[in-house]
Amino acid sequence: MKDMVWVPIKYVILLLLFLAMGTMTQVVIDFSRLSSTLQQDWASTVSLLTVNGFFVWIVPAVLLAWLFTSLGIFRKGKAKRTRMIFLTLLVSGTMFSAVFFMPQLDRVRTHVSELDFQVPDGVILSSPDAYFVFHGNPGEKSGSVLLHRNEPDARFRLVAEAVKNNQSGKLELGTGEPALAMDGVIGGRRALFENDGFLEPVFAALMDGLVAFQKGRPGDLFPAVALASATGLLLASFWLFVRLTKWPLANLVLSLGALAGILLLPTLLVSPLGRELLAFIPAVWKAFILPGIYLLVSILCFGGCLLQPSTKDWQTGADE
């Protein structure tokens, strides 16, 4: 009875903790990137950013909460099946909520991407292509821009007006001049929030996965339930990794790899190769591809679980 209470409490606490930490960090970072005009209207801006942060972090928070609760159950090698079954049901439920909320993410993210990023006025910025300074209004349309391209025989040029395109992340100079990429600009504040080259592929893969997961979300209730249940079942079948070795930390590494797989699989499905391979499947059934694969993998993993020795046997041979 104690387990029936303690496992869900621990899971919910961890879920809320990860969700709160992720959302708060996201809000603070996103808010500081906004222009001062938008910061003045802070109440509506912060609420929009909070909703965005919540939707971005809900799936990772569910996965992480599941992982740490599971590891806690198996840590001492004395797990009871009831705990895991209860956890699986709980994860499926919250995952269903997460999947249910997913359509909102698209709408909120559109609003967030429209928000203006800070480009300080009168501050020298440098990119691999050029040095440049804004003189005048730092809004969407700048005042004049003093520009020095990193090209042989280039000279200072004063461009009368430039337009900052937040969608493309480029500075459009008009008069037929090539636009300047604002990504990778040093000296400006936007650069402070760009990750280094090493994390780029990790982030890209995870975000692509999240977006693809979201796109794989079916519009109807029945496929949504299928995806949430399949994900819950898949997580439950990952017991295989959670208790694969007698070393819990190694199991954590394996489980994190398996969780990354949950997010990377949808990316593969929406890739050109994935689309080509799945072209023969009728459109009606496409919403069930992802849950189907998850179900298949979870059956394989459950098969593996059956072959694993009981955790009671871990103590056999140990130097007790």
């Binding site: 501050v123 020298i124 300074v133 000279r155 200072f156 004063l158 040093i186 140990a318």
Partner: protein, 625 residues
């Protein structure tokens, strides 16, 4: 050190030892191929140190995680614990150890890391340049230009004193020129001695003394009809006083008259031409503040004195003069002095005209006050890889003067800017003036923009005004409001502040806004350094507690899969640490932008302290069950 502490420490030391060994092997096998053999080990040391510092936190975390979760043998541990249930009671020494490690790392990071990176890069730069000088020397020697070749070899040896190939080349050149010396500085010492011998010691001492001595020397030379020497000492005397001495004025008038008479009364055509050229150089040009023309005429004087005329002869003299100047620069560099053309003592051989030898240093000194020889900049540009810079040089009443350079080159004593460009932008965002030059040389707090070539003094590179009006008298000089050190730092920070040490960051923090840069990126990097004092211990405590909580209670010996995980764990820790640093940097920057440096420091210290306390509480909550 006994018991559990040793058990925890050994895997930590082993993790660092393995990491250092791997980094060493990597740098030996796949290191920088351009490094000269004499710098190889020094470069490897710096490269390993830099990489080790880069990976220090993930290695330490991995060491703790592995040590506490998999490498402690259960039976042995139980005997060490002796029935103690509280884990934290037996890890008290480890806590102290973590604090010591953190302090050591922060000190290394703040004061050693940046300079290690710079030294590593300097060794690369010196290797590349020394090798280039040697190639140049070999090329010059093939063309029969042995004295110029010797100078290039000397430059290579200055950059890399134990560069074997350059030393061998120097010996070969010495043998060719009949010199017996084989030491690194033998040639310069020889020339120096020769120079000393060619001067009257009394004259050397007195010439640098007081007004009366110079005046007396001027009179002596006048009486001996050596009018150019007399004029030389008159000028020296003039430089030592601000008052108008009638005696000196009279003597000068008489000397100049005699010089003109001498030209007219010369016996043959050659003597007359020589006399007239000297008169032009010294009286007409130098006396009237036209050193470039005076330089050119003096070269002609020497050519005429040798009985040679024409561009080829003059080029030969310029090359000999350049070699003498380079020797002076090298000799003065050896004793840590800044190059001063006044100290140039031209030897009697190969120069033949005494007035040329006496006046040339004076001409060079005056010439280098308003212009500079661009050869050093051209050589540096060819050999070194300076990075560009742009900054606000001056800002008054909303009018900004921007300075851009394609590269900042570090000479031995001077900085040069390649293709400097100065634009003044007015209040309404309109260009007030815009000028460019081929090279700029920083002398004191001025940027000189007018340059000439030693071989082609007539090819003067002056400032070109592209827009607006700039007064003629200030056109070729820009008063710098940023120091050479700041300009250098700004060029180094072209791609971010991560490579700079804490003292360098502190030195820039007050300057960066006036140079037109946003201070927040710099402050973010600085905050990152400062907060490591708190973040590193808390990460270590979390790692200890987390490793202990997830230890392998039933593992007798790591099997294959566990062994593989031992290798995979550092990779995962590295990724997670990168993620932690990234999120930390984002948070630091966000809070900085909202609250300013001081407020943010307080807020972030509080956050980090909470994290530290949480890690200690988590550690304290661990039991030996």
């Amino acid at each position: 050190m006994k018991g559990v502490t040793r058990k925890i420490l050994l895997p930590l030391v082993a993790a660092h030892a393995v990491a250092i060994l791997l980094l060493l092997l990597y740098n030996i096998i796949a290191g920088d191929k351009a490094i000269l053999a004499e710098f190889a080990w020094s470069w490897i040391f710096q490269a390993v140190l830099v990489s080790w510092m880069d990976f220090f936190i993930p290695i330490t975390i991995t060491g703790f995680l592995l040590g506490l979760s998999v490498f402690i043998n259960n039976a042995e541990l139980r005997s060490l614990l002796k029935g103690e249930r509280s884990f934290v009671r037996i890890t008290g020494k480890t806590v102290v150890l973590v604090l010591l490690i953190s302090v050591m790392f922060v000190i290394l990071n703040a004061f050693v890391y940046g300079s290690a990176r710079q030294q590593r890069d300097t060794l690369h730069d010196r290797s590349v340049r020394a090798h280039a000088f040697l190639l140049e020397a070999q090329d010059l020697a093939k063309r029969g230009l042995f004295s110029e070749s010797a100078v290039s070899v000397r430059k290579a040896l200055l950059l890399a004193p134990n560069y074997l190939a350059a030393a061998e080349m120097q010996v070969r050149l010495s043998e060719k020129s009949g010199e017996s010396s084989s030491g690194g500085h033998a040639e310069s010492k020889h020339i120096g001695k020769e120079n000393e011998d060619s001067m009257d010691p009394k004259e050397r001492i007195r010439s640098s003394l007081i007004y009366e001595d110079n005046l007396k020397l001027a009179r002596e030379y006048f009486e001996r009809s050596d009018y150019y020497s007399a004029l030389y000492f008159i000028r020296k005397a003039e430089g030592l006083t601000e008052r108008v001495d009638d005696a000196l004025v009279d003597l000068r008038t008489e000397v100049e008259m005699q010089i003109r008479k001498k030209g007219v009364s010369a016996k043959d055509h050659a003597a007359k031409k020589l006399s007239e050229t000297k008169q032009k150089a010294v009286v007409d040009y130098l006396q009237n503040g036209r050193p470039i023309e005076a330089y050119h005429e003096l070269i002609r004087v020497e050519a005429l004195a040798r009985g040679e005329e024409g561009a080829e002869a003059e080029h030969a003299i310029v090359e000999e003069l350049t070699a003498a100047i380079d020797s002076l620069i090298i000799n003065q560099a050896d004793v840590g002095k800044e190059y001063d053309p006044r100290e140039l003592v031209l030897p009697g051989r190969p120069f033949v005209d005494p007035d040329f030898c006496r006046w040339m240093p004076e001409v060079l000194a005056q010439l280098e006050r308003t212009t500079f020889f661009r050869e050093e900049a051209e050589t540096l540009r060819a050999e070194a890889s300076g990075s560009g810079v742009m900054f606000v040089n001056r800002e008054e009443d909303g009018i900004r003067e921007y300075l851009y350079a394609a590269a900042v080159l570090e000479g031995r004593f001077n900085q040069y800017l390649v293709a400097p460009e100065i634009i003044v932008v007015g209040k309404a965002g309109k260009v007030v003036s815009h000028r460019v030059s081929a090279y700029g040389k920083i002398v004191g707090s001025n940027l000189m923009l007018k340059s000439i070539g030693r071989l082609e003094p007539e090819r003067i590179e002056e400032v070109r005004v592209l827009e607006g009006e700039v007064p003629q008298d200030t056109r070729n000089v820009v008063r710098l409001h940023q120091s050479p050190e700041v300009i250098r730092s700004l060029s180094l920070s072209r791609f971010g502040y991560q490579d700079m040490s804490v003292p360098e960051l502190f030195s820039l923090i007050s300057v960066v806004p006036s140079a037109g840069y946003d201070v927040v990126p710099l402050q973010t990097v600085l905050l990152g350094y400062l907060l490591q004092v708190l973040s590193l211990p808390s990460l270590c405590f979390f790692a200890i507690a987390w490793g202990w909580a997830n230890r392998s209670r039933y593992l007798t010996w790591p099997v294959l899969l566990t062994g593989l995980m031992v290798v995979a764990l550092p990779v995962l820790v590295f990724i997670l640490m990168k993620l932690y640093q990234y999120i930390g940097n984002c948070l630091n920057a966000s809070i900085l932008m909202m609250g300013g440096f001081e407020n943010s420091l307080v807020v972030l210290v509080v956050i980090q302290t909470v994290q530290l306390v949480a890690s200690l509480v988590y550690l304290a909550g661990q039991t030996t069950d």
